[in-house]
Amino acid sequence: MSIRLESGPVVVGRAVSTGAASPSPASPETAPVIFDIKGLNVYYRDFHAVADTDLDIHRNEITALIGPSGCGKSTVLRCFNRMNDLIDGARVEGRVLYHGIDLYGPAVDAVEVRRRIGMVFQKPNPFPKSVYENIVFGPKVAGWKGNLDDLVEESLRRAALWDEVKDKLDGSALDLSGGQQQRLCIARAIATSPDVVLMDEPCSALDPIATYRIESLMRELKEQYTIVVVTHNMQQAARVSDRTAFFSVDVGEEGQRTGRLVEYDATDQVFTAPSLKETEDYITGRFG
C-alpha cells in the first residue's frame, strides 16, 4: 500500500464542502482527525527521548506543540513526516496513523510522505539558487506537469511574498531578508501541494513584523492545509493555534530526561484555565 492522496481537501469521515469557506473552518469539537497517534515512543539509540504519547491532529487547524527545551517537540514533529528516518539511530515505536494509514507501514514511501507533509525549519534554509528554482525544484522532481510560472506565482502569493519578489525571481534566494527567506521556504513547502505543513519554530529568527506576517499567513493557510507548529513563544502559540499540546520532561533516577505529553486541549482552555497544575505552572512561568 502506498499513500495516494489527491491534493485539495481530503474527505475523511464526513463530507467537506470545497465551496464557500466557512468563517471558522474547524471548531475544536468537530474537525476530523488526520493524524491519530497512539503509544508513540521515540528513541535515539538507547536514549528514550519521548514516551507514551497519544495525540490527534485535526484537519484545517493549527496545532501548537509547546514545552521546555529538550522535551521532544521537534522529535515528535519529525514523526509526522518520517524525518526521523534520516537520523542515525532514531527509532519510532507506536502507531502513527495518517488518514487512517500507518505512516511507518512497510509499503509506505517515505519520500511521498514528505511531499504530502511538508516541513519548515527554524532557520530559513532556501537552496542557494534563484527564488524561482527554489519553488519549482520539488514539483519538478515529483514530475509536475502544469505551468511552472503559474505555480511559482501562486505559491509565492499564498506565502504573501509575491509582491516583494516578483521582480527578482531570477535573483538568488540568499539575497532575500530572513523573513522573506522564511516565507520563501513556506512557499516552497506549499508548492508541492502538501496536505500538512509542519513548522519547527518558524519565527524564532524573525523580527515582529515578519513574525506577524507569518502568523497571519498560517491562519490563511489553515483554510487549505493542516499545520503543526513547534514554538517556544507561548504568546505565539496563544495567538495562532486552535489546539495546544504541552510537553514536559521527566527526569529518571539516573538523570535520563524523557519527554512526555502532559496536556492537550483547545488553546483557549490551555492558556486561560488548563486542567493540570503542571501546565499552569509552565504557562505562568513557575517551573524548573
Binding site: 492558556f271 484555565a273 505552572d281 505562568t284 512561568g285 524548573g288
Partner: protein, 224 residues
C-alpha cells in the same frame, strides 16, 4: 519542585492584589461608618466616609494603571490571567461599593435635623449588620482562595433582600407626618444602597469561584 521563573512579574501581581485588598478593607469600614452616621447623626463620620472614598478612588485609578502596565508588559496566562481578570472586576465592584457608602453618609447628613422612625432605623442597622459580614466573607474567600465558602454568599444575601423589599411598607406607615415622610423616603434609598452592597459582595464571591475554577458562572441568586 517548581521555581518561579518570573519573580518580578509575580511580585507586581501580588502587590496589585495587596492594593486591591487594602481598598476592600477601606470599603468595608466605610459601609460600617456610613450606617453608624445614620444612627448617630455624627457629621465627623460623614466627613470620614467621604475622605475615605477619595482614597478609594485614588487606589482605583492606581490599580487600573498598574493593571494596564502588567497586561502590556507581561501578557499573563492561566491562573495569572484569571487573577488579573478578577482584580479588574473587584476594583470596579469595590469602587462602586465605596460610592454606595458615600450615598448613605450623604443621606445621613441631609436628614440629620429630621424626625426619625425607630423601626425603620433598626431595620437599616440590621441590614448593615448583615451586609458587613458578607463583605468580610467575600474578601476573606478571595485572600484564602476559598471557592467553597464563597458559595454561602447568595444565602447570606437573602435576608438583606427581604428587608429591602419590606421597607416600603414601613415608609407608607409614616403617611401623615410630612417631615417624617421626608426622612423615611430617603431611608428607602439607604435600604436600596445596602441591598446593592450585598449584591456586590456576591459578585466578589463569583470572582473567587472564577479565579479558582475558570468558570464564569453567576451564583444562583435566591429570590426569597
Amino acid at each position: 519542585m517548581t521555581t518561579d521563573q518570573r519573580p518580578e512579574f509575580h511580585a507586581a501581581l501580588n502587590s496589585l492584589e495587596e492594593t486591591t485588598m487594602d481598598m476592600a478593607d477601606r470599603v468595608e469600614k466605610m459601609v460600617g461608618m456610613a450606617v453608624r452616621s445614620l444612627v448617630t447623626s455624627d457629621n465627623s463620620l460623614v466627613t470620614e466616609v467621604i475622605s475615605s472614598d477619595d482614597k478609594v478612588d485614588e487606589l482605583y485609578m492606581d490599580i487600573r494603571s498598574r493593571w494596564m502596565q502588567i497586561m502590556a508588559r507581561q501578557q499573563p496566562m492561566g491562573r495569572d490571567l484569571r487573577m488579573m481578570a478578577a482584580i479588574l472586576e473587584l476594583n470596579n465592584t469595590l469602587e462602586r461599593m465605596g460610592d454606595q457608602a458615600v450615598n448613605i453618609a450623604r443621606i445621613a447628613r441631609a436628614t440629620a435635623g429630621l424626625p426619625r422612625e425607630e423601626t425603620i432605623l433598626a431595620k437599616l442597622v440590621e441590614m448593615g449588620d448583615l451586609v458587613k459580614p458578607m463583605i468580610r466573607t467575600s474578601i476573606d474567600c478571595f485572600v484564602r482562595r476559598d471557592a467553597d465558602e464563597c458559595l454561602l454568599l447568595p444565602a447570606m444575601d437573602v435576608p438583606v433582600d427581604v428587608l429591602n423589599r419590606g421597607m416600603w411598607k414601613h415608609v407608607v406607615e409614616c403617611g401623615h407626618d410630612q417631615p417624617l415622610l421626608e426622612w423615611a423616603t430617603r431611608m428607602v434609598l439607604v435600604s436600596r444602597a445596602l441591598e446593592r452592597v450585598g449584591d456586590q459582595a456576591v459578585d466578589i464571591g463569583e470572582q473567587v469561584a472564577f479565579l479558582m475554577t475558570g468558570d464564569h458562572h453567576e451564583f444562583t441568586r435566591y429570590t426569597g
